[in-house]
Symmetry: C2
Subunit: 205 residues, 2 copies
C-alpha cells in the first residue's frame, strides 16, 4: 500500500499528527494555501518551505488536491455562533462573515471556493459546510424543509464571501459593512424564520 493510507483513515489532519516531516509539510502547505490559494502554490514551493524534497510531499499525500483538503483545516477558523436568539441569527451570521477580524477565515473560504473546480475540493467544501453549519443550524429550525433551508443559508454565505472578496471588502467603511450585514442578514433570516411576506401561498400538502 502506498504511504498515503499510512495516515489513519481519511481524516482531516490534526496538529501534531504524523512524523515531524509530515507535520512540517502540513504546516508549510497550510500556511501557503491560506495565504495564496490553491493554484498559486506549487508542490516544489511547499517542499522548499518545509525544508524537504518536493517529491516527498507527493510520497506522503498522493496528490496536490489531497494535500490541500487534508491540510486546509477550516474548522478552527469557521466556528459561527449558531446559538443565541433564532430571530437574529441571520444578521449575526452575515456580520461574522464580514468581520475584518475574520479575514483569515474568509481567505480560506475563498481558496476552497475557487478551487472547487476540482471535484475533491468541491466535495470537501460541501462537507465542511454540512458539518459546520447545516447540521447544527437545521437542528434549530422549525417548520418544513429544515435541511434544505439550512443548506441554502450556506449557499448564501458562500455567495457573499465571493462578492465581498471581489469588491475588496477590506476597503469599505465600518458603517457600510454593518449595513450590508443588516440587509443580507435579513435575507438569510428569511430562510431561518420565514416571514409570511406578501402573498405566500402554501398549499398544505
Amino acid at each position: 500500500m502506498s504511504a498515503v493510507s499510512a495516515t489513519p483513515a481519511a481524516g482531516r489532519s490534526r496538529a501534531g499528527e504524523g512524523t515531524p516531516t509530515q507535520q512540517a509539510i502540513a504546516r508549510a502547505a497550510r500556511a501557503l494555501f491560506e495565504e495564496k490559494g490553491y493554484e498559486r502554490v506549487s508542490i516544489r514551493e511547499i517542499g522548499t518551505a518545509a525544508g524537504v524534497d518536493p517529491a516527498l510531499v507527493m510520497r506522503h499525500y498522493g496528490s496536490k488536491e489531497e494535500l490541500f483538503v487534508r491540510v486546509i483545516g477550516f474548522d478552527e477558523h469557521f466556528a459561527p455562533r449558531l446559538d443565541g436568539p433564532l430571530e437574529t441569527i441571520g444578521e449575526r451570521l452575515a456580520a461574522y462573515l464580514l468581520d475584518p477580524r475574520h479575514a483569515q477565515m474568509r481567505r480560506t473560504l475563498t481558496a476552497l471556493l475557487y478551487a472547487s473546480d476540482h471535484d475533491v475540493v468541491r466535495t470537501d467544501l460541501q462537507g465542511i459546510m454540512q458539518r459546520l453549519l447545516v447540521d447544527t443550524l437545521s437542528a434549530r429550525l422549525e417548520g418544513e424543509d429544515r435541511t434544505t433551508r439550512a443548506w441554502l443559508v450556506s449557499a448564501q454565505l458562500l455567495g457573499l464571501t465571493h462578492s465581498w472578496d471581489a469588491i475588496d471588502g477590506g476597503r469599505v467603511t465600518a458603517a457600510e459593512r454593518t449595513r450590508v450585514a443588516e440587509l443580507y442578514g435579513a435575507a438569510i433570516q428569511q430562510l431561518i424564520t420565514p416571514a409570511q411576506s406578501h402573498e405566500r401561498r402554501r398549499s398544505p400538502q
Copy 2:
C-alpha cells in the same frame, strides 16, 4: 503596439468579429471553456481545435486569461427577465437559474466563478453581474440602498449556482427544484421588497 489592441477597444468579442482565424480561435476557445471550465483547457488544445498554431492564440489574445474573458460571452446566455411584477422577481430569478434548460448558462457561470482566482476574471465576473443584473434591477427598486441590495442579489445567485453545482442539481426532482426556487426566491425577495419582518429597527440617521 502588440496585436492584442488590434481588436477595437477592450470590448467583448462579438460573433463575426476579426479575421477568420480569430473567429475560429474564439469559437473553439469558447466551446472548450464552456464545456470544461478554465483550468482544464490548454492553449494548445484550443489551437488544435481551431486548426491553428497554438502560439498564434497568444499572438492574438496576449494571455490565456484575456482570451477567456474576451470569449466567454456570457451575456447572450444569462438574460434574466427583470420585468414583470416586482413582488415575484425573487422566485422567478431563482427558478430561472435552476431551470434544467439553462444548464449551459450555469456551466458558464461556474466556470467564471471558479476562475475568479485570477484577478482579471474576478473583475470581469463582477462587471458582468453589474451590467446584466445590478444596473437593471436597482433601477426598479424602491427605498434605500438600491444598488447595494441589487448587488447582494447577485451575490445570492452566485452562491446558489455554486451550491447547485456542488450537489449536482441535475439529479434532483422537479418538485424539489421548484421548492428550492420558492425558498431561495423568498430570500432574494427580502432584498427586493423588504418585508418589515420581526423587529427591524432603523434609526433615521
